[in-house]
Subunit: 743 residues, 2 copies
């Protein structure tokens, strides 16, 4: 190496700055900023010249046609909102649906002359409107110059032109601004941006060209227009109902729904596609760590830092809190996720409903097996059994075409916002075609295999030997996905839609479907252990919470020899997720049954044994297992008993009329001998009363209370006032009253 | 309301604590903790009794067969690592592949008696091993008791038993622990946990039962066993090569790859499925905000807070930095993501290769259109054109069966870890079947439609009129996805694999595929604007960076009338992403061409005009557009010129032998008149030299340097030493030298 001055010499490298590196810019990566916030806007100039300025500056465009005023015709009783089924939205803006004409009036400074005047309505959305991206759409009154949106002059009267505009049936859904621009030879003069000319364009289930078109009027009425719903819960044997106010038309809800997409940084250009919107929302409705989602899940029973999931009466509070605080709302369980998702979907105009699946296999990762481990004596091994059958699980169905899939998979699609343990490490699910699930075509996106397993898993009982190996001793192929319910359109009864998801048990079609699913990687239990010749049956029970009760367990010997069963009878309190809390009862009777005979084993349960240990939603879970001495066979039976809670009594004054004050009262009596502490009562009624709540620090045993409120109904029709009572010792106490309001 | 003392009275609700709510526990939601960290372990007891303790405590299990020692036979030259193709891993542990037998020796305290002694090898992985989850696997030496793994006694010699174990071909991949347990009538006595009995089980492309089986030996050798690769870049007309040391066998890399899955909280039970592993990794290799991914993307040119993407020579530094700091590594661009992903895949035993697609349509969200907007005069409107054709883009292919899809879609799968603007708002892509992409079957997961658009988009030139409407004037259907390259197996030449992704242009098959893709929602430009009768052609150029050059632009008049073109000739510096930097040249000649004649327009480019403005990777982008006066037709031509950088000269001393010291020198001369500042030089060579770097604060114009290092090769064979030089003013200066090491 030479030693000249110019020879470069190495030196210690400068330290790389430590700490979190600064946010990297988009420079070099993309030509423009991402357009992913509907709340961001760009301003078009009032004067836009085509020509270079002359010696005396720009020509005065004011010589041409001038726009004095624009009327968006946005009152609830005007034809736009009536024709577009948007009259219920509590909003100051025009709200219309795509693929269908709406009207605006433009007042010029003189009569419009088609031969010489040239003007356009310009619709823009997002921060960087581009024609080729569908975020800038000029609409002309003449046929010659058309874009994907159609325009026509409906009427001229004096200086006023009535323009009809038909947005494309696949246009972006969200909040637009409308400019009116007059085109001159020198440039464009246009209206200044003013919020009165903002408008919302929604999905349109009423037009055949829209991807969310739904032909059935009664379903459309229910799944788009209805605010008050019923969500089914409880257990398969003992179905319970929960009223819910979706509140999709309440003030601020539509903006909150658009905010959810903004918060997800969903590109504006994707927001015309219902498939993409529901997929983003299914991820965004749940919040995990600090990802900014809407609802924090909590199944722990400790809700100190928020509202107990059982305490909510509707979605309004949740969505408005989220959009104003911009923080996740505490807390949710599955029906809260499904209910708020339903509000989101109906608010945007995507037909949707909440469905409940009884005995839902969870966290299953697409495997068709749920394992219950018994020891060599037939007793359940709780350490080795990872519960994953929920007593029930709620998800949503939304209605849309699926152009991304082969023909036949449009229609109802499952979406689910409840955070689950998915293979992707992502908390989202769907849209999965219900038709694809029913036919085992689970190779198609999104997450059809996961939903298929939720309704079709086998429950496999294993016997574990001392050296750690396990052998299947019983396979129950009918337990999971026993019943799928949703509310009937137009009334308050339940509708069994199990047959939309599954062919009947035992049919050829059912077997074919399961084989098809196995082709796509679903694993089933292949073994068929011999069926024991003794059955054990647990009775159906309706038990009020806090009462003592008896239970007759029946052992049926189907063989023609005597049988002796070493039985294990276990009673536990259980979460609706199927997760077991404390065991409060454990018996080990030996039962001897004569050939072809029955024996009943009486079990007495005292309220004091379970009351102190009750967890969420007051379920008791009884498992009977046992080993038949003569044959070594294992027998099993399971039953979830939902304890009946006391009720709230809701009374509404009679003779309701729009804009006339009414009275509602909520009554409650503590039926227990102990006091209830930290009690919240909430009530609300769509179109009548915003959510209200009251707090009682103490309700002593046996005491009663009455809460009276005044309210003024805003619109006519039949609706309901719903109320909940919730405290750590007693969850999900409900009451409701129907109200008919005359115009 | 009564006023008795017991009547509950409402009171203000207690405030909900503000601030971030505490992390919600899993209680009520799941019975056990999620098992999603391979690094977490659980300890089995040394003595596990089946019986209750008697009056004198537990019986002394020490009377039975005792285990003195276990030999995992894990030396590189022992049969396990040789047979399982894992001899190259620099690791102290046994590393084997699934679906194939390996051996261990167990030294008992006396000869093993099959008739009376009973023992098992117990393999465990994760923090809560369960038989039914495949995370606890007992393996017995006898045929009677078998689980999904097979065991047999290969040999007994004195007190030593040689056991053969064949893990299931679909077992979980990761780090296991092996216990040896002796089963007695009273309980199990087993070895204490000790890290020497840890072992890694990997994917096995050599056995037909494994989902990643690859039959071709030369491809297996390349795509699993080869550490040194070539990644193609540059431009379609001027392909450049980049050497890369994947380093999948280097010390610590396998643990780093497992850490990536742990960091993603990927459930252990999913880690036997290559589909799920590659999908998780495609998300996890990029870091967005604070999600803990491996690499931070940066295309901005400012790399103050990390290492310039062009400066890396291999994956080792990146993965070891990530696994030790547990922080994202700065910075990456597409080839860095693809290269590190390739290391991850090869390290776990999934066959993989890096491919390069020239003219890759990006951020396209599955639409088959890239729009370029011209004004009414035919000049490009840069404000309205959102560039989204990358000069090239790199992704990975990995080889596996696809049991989740219909037959025919196994084989090579596209995965891509470069963060893209996807509809999901998620930065992940694939696995997408190459066969499905080729046949337009883009309805199948994952992200096939997205990859299809990257190689099949149309480029549409629009002319924008003054009132904002646009009309297509030219559609180029062949520009995008022009060429797809990967390295040939076994040598250093390139292999054109375009035909694996696309049928030939103009064939019936090609048209059918595009129609099929349209059925699944891909949108194409339908219009076919008339082709102009004047062509414009830009020449191919090989230009050294910093030189002046001339360019002859040819205008060809195909008509039999005179044509006059008002042309716009624009030269810009451009990122490899296609994003345009500064325009350094702009000419507006009027060109008159006789009927059926050519005219050449000479353009002179001086180095001073572009040198100061050069951005990443030294590309110049020339666009010629224009309008034919006589017909109003628009003509266009584009060309990317990759400037040739100076080279590093790498020299290695001759006569290399394993474990004998050698010398390597890197020489560089600054060919410019200006100084280079802040210069890093890096070099490394697989099996010879770990990554090293040197920093020079200043290299004056015209000066030379030589960097000399000593190294000691660890293994025989042919390899390369590669070097890079990188500074803000000059990126991607490379050099390399081949080395043959004798044993």
């Amino acid at each position: 190496m030479s030693d000249q001055d110019t020879t470069p010499t190495p030196s210690p490298a400068p330290p790389i700055p430590t700490g979190t590196p600064p946010k990297v810019t988009n420079r070099g990566r993309a030509a423009g900023p991402a357009d992913s916030a509907n709340s961001e806007t760009s301003d078009f100039p009032e004067y836009e010249y085509f020509v270079q300025p002359g010696p005396r500056g720009f020509p005065p465009l004011t010589e041409y046609l001038d726009i004095l005023d624009v009327d968006m015709m946005k009152r609830r009783d005007e034809s736009n909102k009536m024709d577009h089924h948007t009259m219920l939205y509590n909003s100051d803006y025009l709200i219309v649906r795509r693929g269908q004409e709406f009207q605006v009036n433009i007042n010029f400074n003189r009569p419009y002359k088609p031969a010489e005047d040239k003007f356009a309505l310009e619709f823009v959305i997002g921060s960087s409107p581009h024609f080729s991206k569908g975020t800038y759409i000029p609409v002309f009154p003449t046929k010659e110059r058309q874009s994907s949106w159609e325009g026509r002059i409906i009427n001229t009267f004096g200086n006023v032109v009535t323009m009809g505009i038909t947005p494309a049936a696949n246009c972006i859904v969200g909040k637009y601004h409308m400019y009116v621009g007059v085109v001159t030879p020198y440039g464009i003069r246009r209206t200044r941006r003013e919020s009165s000319r903002d408008l919302y364009i929604l999905f349109n289930p009423w037009v055949a060209e829209d991807a969310v078109f739904l032909g059935d009027e009664s379903e459309r009425e229910e799944c788009v227009m209805t605010e008050m719903g019923i969500i089914y819960h409880g257990s398969y044997d003992d179905i319970a109902e929960r009223d819910w106010n979706y509140g999709q038309f309440n003030f601020g809800i539509l903006d909150a729904c658009l905010y959810i997409m903004d918060r997800a940084e969903m590109p504006i250009t994707n927001r015309g596609d219902p498939i993409k919107i529901v997929r983003v929302a299914s991820a965004m409705l749940n919040s995990r760590d600090d990802d900014g989602g809407v609802l924090v899940g909590n199944w722990s029973g400790d809700y100190t830092y928020g509202v107990a999931p059982t305490s909510w009466t509707g979605s309004t509070d949740i969505l408005l809190t989220y959009s104003s605080s911009k923080m996740p709302v505490c807390y949710a369980q599955c029906w809260v996720y499904a209910a708020v998702f339903n509000t989101f979907l109906r608010c945007l105009g995507i037909p949707s409903r909440v469905v409940t699946n009884y005995f839902s296999a969870h966290d299953n990762d697409g495997n068709l097996k749920t394992d219950i481990i018994l020891d060599e004596n037939g007793r359940i091994d709780r350490n080795r059994t990872r519960d994953s059958i929920w007593n029930y699980h709620c998800w949503n169905e939304c209605y849309m075409s699926r152009p991304d899939l082969p023909a036949g998979f449009g229609g109802w699609q499952v979406v689910d916002a409840t955070p689950q343990e998915t293979s992707d490490g992502m908390y989202r699910c769907g849209p999965a075609s219900v038709q694809a699930i029913k036919h085992g075509q689970i190779c198609f996106p999104f997450d059809a295999a996961f939903v298929f397993a939720e309704i079709n898993s086998d429950v496999v009982f294993y016997s574990r030997s001392k050296d750690g190996t396990m052998a299947p001793v019983k396979v129950n192929r009918t337990h999971v996905g026993r019943l799928i319910l949703t509310k009937s359109p137009g009334n308050v009864t339940r509708r069994d839609i199990t047959d939309q998801y599954k062919f009947s048990e035992g049919t050829t079609e059912e077997r074919t479907v399961l084989e098809k699913a196995e082709e796509y990687g679903c694993k089933r239990e292949k073994s068929s252990p011999p069926v024991a010749d003794v059955d054990v049956v647990l009775p159906n029970l309706e038990i009020g919470v806090g009462t003592n009760f008896e239970m007759n367990i029946e052992f049926i010997n189907n063989s023609d020899q005597q049988r002796t069963v070493d039985a294990y009878i276990s009673g536990s309190v259980v979460y609706y997720t199927g997760v077991t809390g404390t065991e409060f009862l454990f018996l080990t009777p030996r039962v001897t049954i004569d050939p072809k005979a029955n024996v009943r084993e009486l079990v007495v349960v005292e309220s004091k044994s379970y009351m102190k240990r009750l967890v969420e939603q007051a379920n008791l879970h009884f498992i009977v297992t046992g080993k038949i001495r003569e044959t070594g066979q294992i027998i099993t039976a399971m039953k979830v008993v939902t304890l009946q809670n006391p009720k709230l009594i809701v009374r509404v004054s009679s003779g309701g009329k729009v804009n006339e004050e009414m009275i509602v009262s909520v009554e409650f009596t503590n039926p227990f001998s102990f006091s209830l502490e930290g009690v919240y009562i909430r009530m609300e009624g769509p179109g009548m009363m915003a959510p209200k709540s009251r707090y009682y620090s103490l309700i002593t045993g046996g005491s009663s209370l009455t809460w009276t409120e005044y309210f003024t109904p805003e619109r006519a029709g039949t609706s309901r006032v719903i109320a909940t009572l919730d405290c750590p010792a007693l969850r999900q106490v409900y009451g409701q009253a129907s109200v008919t309001i005359k115009p």
